[in-house]
């Protein structure tokens, strides 16, 4: 910058421009992160009992809390169930709607539409879909003479039902990123491979897929974050039940914090969630740094 005042004005201008955003970020991201840690060392204030420093007591409670461990296990199964499925589907969908397939506009529309619907609306629709007795799913299974089953009310199927809903909602969203990457690929690559007589699978394995690696990494990060962040459908469809089989970590935090109003225990639980998010962020970068092919 050549304005008068020289270097000093750069610092002042820079910080002034950043200030409004910085104040809000510090207030609603950095401060609450630190406050979560701090509060997790105290007992929750009650009407006749002020908060007391209790050290690691909340964490000790957590280690003994079967619901916490179950929520953690559920969350891992939920991630395992949703992430690979949505990544693979997103890839297949993108390859299809990027090829000269018949009716590709309609297909693209069909795949992408769940993305613009609110999760809460989606959950309502699927709730009806799964309703025992007269939901659409039961209508179909009864055609095959299968017995009626309470899909969301049974311990064995409730989490799987939520996984299906999540994959249905997310796959089309992730497809978009693959599609964008595919459309940026030079057609010359295909022509060259055709001249060399490369088969389709070979071309996909050696050219398309490596070029999609950065996109896949991006999708993976988003899918992982979503699997720990999205609990809207649980509030609508199962409320964590039956017997906590669908309680995910954030949903349990919500339950503890806003139903039992035990805010310091909820803070300790939040620390676990934050730690998991941080670990995954680091792990993904270390792991993928070596494997990702950057264009």
């Amino acid at each position: 910058m050549k304005t008068s005042g020289g270097r000093l004005s750069v610092h002042i201008h820079g910080w002034l421009l950043l200030l409004p955003a910085a104040v809000l970020l510090v207030t609603f991201t950095h401060y609450p992160t630190v406050a979560t840690l701090y509060d997790s060392f105290f007992s929750t204030a009650r009407p006749n009992r002020p908060p007391l420093f209790v050290g690691l007591e909340n964490y000790a409670t957590m280690a003994q809390d079967p619901v916490f461990w179950q929520a953690l296990r559920n969350n891992i199964w939920f991630a395992v169930g949703t992430i690979p499925a949505s990544i693979v589907l997103a890839l297949v969908m993108a390859l299809w709607v990027n090829s000269k397939i018949a009716g590709r506009g309609l297909l693209r529309l069909s795949y992408f539409t769940p993305t613009v619907l609110p999760m809460i609306a989606v959950a309502n629709i699927w709730l009806f879909f799964y309703t025992p007795g007269y939901g659409l799913l039961e209508q179909i299974t009864s055609l095959f003479g299968l017995p009626s089953h309470n899909w969301l009310g049974s311990r064995d199927t409730a989490l799987a039902c939520l996984i299906v809903v999540t994959v249905w909602k997310e796959a089309g969203f992730f497809m978009i990123f693959n599609l964008a990457a595919l459309q940026q690929m030079s057609p010359a690559l295909g022509e060259a491979a055709a001249l060399e007589g490369a088969g389709r699978w070979y071309f996909f394995r050696r050219v398309t897929f490596p070029l999609l690696m950065p996109t896949t990494l991006f999708i993976l990060i988003n899918a992982v974050i979503n699997s720990f962040r999205l609990v809207d459908h649980i509030v609508v469809m199962t409320k964590g039940g039956p017997d906590n089989t669908t309680a995910l970590l954030l949903y349990y935090i919500y339950d503890v914090g806003f139903k039992f109003w035990d805010s310091t225990y909820a803070a300790a639980l939040t620390m676990v969630l934050l730690l998991l998010l941080a670990l995954m962020a680091m792990g993904q970068f270390v792991f993928f740094d070596r494997r990702v092919h950057y264009q």
Binding site: M1, H13, G14, W15, L18, P20, A21, L24, L25, T27, T29, H30, P32, T33, A35, T36, V92, M93, W96, N98, K100, I101, L106, L107, S110, T113, P114, V116, L117, P118, M119, I120, A121, V122, N124, I125, W126, L136, W168, F173, I176, F177, L179, A194, A198, R200, F218, I225, F228, R229, D232, V235, V236, L250, I253, G257, F258, A266, A267, T270
Partner: protein
């Protein structure tokens, strides 16, 4: 000649079939909801082509809960958040892109923290903050944690960095100050990015649920998503036709906008995703 990426012969037919089956499967839940909402409840699970069409479910839903107020609340919420985001992110992104101020790298890293730790997971502490500020149950409380968006700052910073320095200097030579240069040179050039960001932001906050559920507890501040949940979990008995009508109503504006501007939506989500 089609490239090796194109399927041929039997494979082609099989894949087309597969793609269509998947497409049908993906459209099924929404089609089912539309069927239920537009037919009398006795047809909600009977699929006869002669079933009479009706709007009565929508009328009943509209009368049963203050949806008009919820629509106003959501519109206000989405507009407030977007306006604040556009201003705050533009200023911050400009600072990061063109001012080598002291501590810039550290500050930028601190901004990026929000990409990993979103306001959605800090519900407990942010609720306490809102309570201390005395603004629980207001539209402002729903919006505040989202107004400084790391994603928006990042996206705009990348865009501003591609603006040729010569344009910036030319404006300065003509006597424009920092803010004038930003407004006259950078903002117009970033227009497609602004549109993309706006669409993503509006869809996100129109659909957001958990945080609004926590901070609101009256009709005055509740957005549509929370209103829908209160309505459908109420004790007026489960009439699926009416609930489905209400569900479609809440998603309606966004869904219609999407169907009308499909290309823009898809391109915006693409643009916002490539960083």
């Amino acid at each position: 000649m089609s490239g090796p990426a194109e399927p041929r012969g039997v494979t082609r037919a099989l894949e087309t079939l597969g793609a269509w089956l998947l497409g049908l499967l993906w459209a099924l839940p929404l089609a089912y909801a539309i069927w239920t909402a537009f037919h009398p409840s006795e047809f909600s699970t009977r699929f006869v082509l002669t079933a009479p069409l009706t709007l009565e479910n929508f009328v009943k839903a509209w009368q049963a809960a203050p949806f008009a107020r919820y629509f106003v609340n959501t519109t206000l919420l989405v507009a407030t958040i977007l306006a604040a985001q556009l201003v705050l992110c533009t200023l911050a992104a400009y600072a990061f892109a063109r001012f080598a101020f002291f501590g810039r790298e550290v500050a930028f890293l601190l901004v990026l923290v929000q990409l990993m730790i979103m306001p959605d997971v800090l519900i407990v502490e942010n609720y306490r903050t809102m309570s201390r500020l005395g603004i629980l149950d207001t539209i402002g409380a729903i919006g505040l944690p989202y107004m400084a968006s790391a994603f928006g700052i990042f996206l705009l910073r990348q865009t501003f960095k591609t603006v040729p320095k010569e344009l910036d200097e030319a404006a300065r030579v003509e006597g424009a100050g920092a803010l004038q240069t930003l407004w006259k040179v950078y903002v117009p050039l970033a227009k497609p990015v602004y549109i993309a960001y706006a669409l993503v932001s509006v869809s996100y906050h129109w659909n957001n649920f958990l945080w609004p559920l926590i901070v609101t507890n009256s009709v005055q501040s509740r957005p549509l998503t929370v209103g829908l949940q209160v309505f459908s979990s109420g004790d007026q008995g489960v009439d699926w036709s009416i609930i489905t009508a209400a569900t479609l109503m809440t998603s309606g504006p966004l869904l219609i906008a999407f169907l009308l501007f499909q290309r823009q939506f898809v391109q915006s989500f693409m643009r916002a995703g490539i960083r």
